[in-house]
Amino acid sequence: MARDSAIAPGSFDEILTWLNSDREVAGDQYVQLRHDLVKIFRWNRCGDPEGLTDEVFDRVLRKVHELRQTFTGDPRLFFYGVARNLIKEESKRLRGHISLDDMDLAANAPAGEHNNTRLMREECLDLCLQKIGRNKRELILDYYAKEKQAKIDHRAEVARRLGISVEALRVRVYRIRSTLEECINSCLDAKR
């Protein structure tokens, strides 16, 4: 999605100030907001979630000066409102164009490319498993060691061993998984 060039200089600073008067907190909120909007676009099956997120910020940037005077409440909800509008626009464009046949994972890429990608993924996985450190690697190994019904009892046992709830274990593993996934994605992007 093309970026709007008619954005007044200093608008980005205004966005940060609007999000939070503390510049450091505002920076964190901005990063987190971008991340959340990308997710929301994904949940709503929008193509190019990153591009749409840029569009949200572009639209807000154009009005931020005025908004700071008029909008009351959590500014992040205004960003969300803009995102909802974009989702409506996207859903009109995409509705009725998704075929399950097109989503067959195995069929989406030619065999050679699929094999290359698989090898690259394996290399990146090995590399990133080393990067996350032994303790985290062992937890991932333990958490995913069993499947289906057996994994429920196994994960309860792992949580008991660590002295935490299963819920806390899920979140702990999710954090490691996110780091791992981020590392693998960067590695794969670097290889392409």
């Binding site: 929301i40 193509g47 994972l105 593993v173 999710y174």
Partner: protein
Amino acid sequence: MEKETVTDASLRQFLLGRVDDEERQRIEKLVITNAVPKERVGAAEEDLLEDYLEDALSPSDRERFLMQYAYTSAQQRRLQITQDVKHWAITEQQRRITSKGQASGRRRSFAHFRLKPMFVMPMAAAVVVIVVVVFWVNRKIELRNRQFVLEEEIGRLNASSGSPKGQISSLPLRPVTLRSAATETELVIRPNIQVVELQLFCNQDESYSTYQAVLRRIGDAQSFNIRNLHPEPEGKAIRVRLPAQILTTGTYHLELTGLRADGRSGPMEEFQFSVRG
């Protein structure tokens, strides 16, 4: 209050796109404003990916899932990474269990001996016995082979009608009787003697086409079987040729038996002589 209404089950429905717009926007707003910990949504998403990969979703959930999570290449990559991580974990776990089993098997074996010193002495004794038995069997085989070779040589010497090569020492012998027991014939084998020829004069009137003999040094367990012996042309004596090397100092006993044409054996006659080096 709103935070409490968002359960894992409702999050799953939300992620599968099974909630109406109002509920969807409510959850999305909670996520944006951090009212629902994002990690909880992320963990619910991970569970969903796992269930899909384990084929644990119902057909309708699977269809919904594909609509939500297999749509973009980024989503497909995420699915593949999840699958890779699961595959790695299961394979690695199995590999560790296998190698652990092998290692503990080895440790158990060593521990078994280490923890029971009472078995050390019997084991050592058993090893000694095994070594002795192996040595004894080898020695036995060696002796048997040597005897076989010597009997072959004896057979060749006695099969030949002509004179054998090398120096021969002849010794006429008469059967042992009560009267002759006191007078034992003595054979002195000089170093140059290679073959000893015994001339056995039998007391029996009956003659046989072939004879067989058994030679044994008194006090030894080893004996030599000598077959296909023939009487001399004059029919007076039975000639037995022996390699000089098999005769060492001592007293020798020889049993001679005649064989009839029908295979039956005649009476046995005994001879005795002593050897001096």
